[in-house]
Amino acid sequence: MKNATTRIAAAAATCCAVLLAAAAWAQSSISGLQIGSPTASIPVLDVTGQYAGQRICYVCEFQDVPNVLAFFRETGDETADLIRQLDELYLRHKHEDFKAVAAIVVGEEASPWLEELSASAGLEIPLVVFRRGPRDVAMRLYEIDPEVDNTFLVTVNRFVVDNVSGIAADEFGRVVDATEQMMAQNTP
């Protein structure tokens, strides 16, 4: 009787572990292209980069070099914190031909906020917006969930090698780890 109870408890624990793992997996892949997907060119409006004020395709510009494409649902302190951390990651690896770009989904209304953030924090990565906001075709093309706060696509050779989405500012280490793993594998 005791044995049967133990077995049931063990089975229940296993089920819980599997469910938790599945939930964690679902949580970590709820927004953005899946690993292994190719990255198609997406036109965006450059706000603070070298093409400020113009339409631009940073995916085309980056081509095969390792990079992070970051998408943020809206402006705010959490987004600012994550963008600053992304810029720091870029600065640590830019000598290795690493690139990064941050796109704000809400559209052109975010431009003044982005300009202010870039100037005040001295950011080097370009900040861009989707021209048509959440209705932009890029949302569907990149499978970005409009309900998720952020989506980081770690890519090289125009393929997604990792996807980190829906993170808090103190979880940016996941993007750092994914990027550094990619950089290590990409070293000739």
Binding site: S41, Y51, I56, C57, C60, E61, L141, N157, R158
Partner: protein
Amino acid sequence: MTHGAGGLPSILAVGLAGALLASGSALAQDDEFDDCVFVDGECIEGYVYVAEFVSPQELKSLMEAESDDIVIVDTAAELIFEDERIPGSVNFPWVHELSLPVTLPRDKTLVIYCACNDHEDSVDMAQKLGLVGYLDVKVLEGGWFEWLDLGYETVGLAVEETQ
């Protein structure tokens, strides 16, 4: 017995010599094609791709003249193409490697464009098409962005939404 024992090294020696000759020949063949770029299956030494461009004004004139000699090729992903494109264009999304056979016509001038800053995808696609025998391929100068800046006509779902 003696005959058999002496025969085995001979066979081995002949085999080894044959293998060496074969590998030497393969190496010589590799050397022969070292500087080779295969264009439509033909070895062309020292081949360097140079993109040919057509201006948006020239393309617009050809479109207005309803020229049958050109096919406008948009390298955007299908969703982007459906959203907005140059009228009359066909979709041929940029890919790492072309899957053969390519279905674009070979007896027309292909005018390729992309939404890129420096024609990255269109030049790459033009080069790839050239390597499989498309020798009359031009790149739209300034691409999609220049076309929009000039205020030339576009079609697609996004255009229909704004009308």
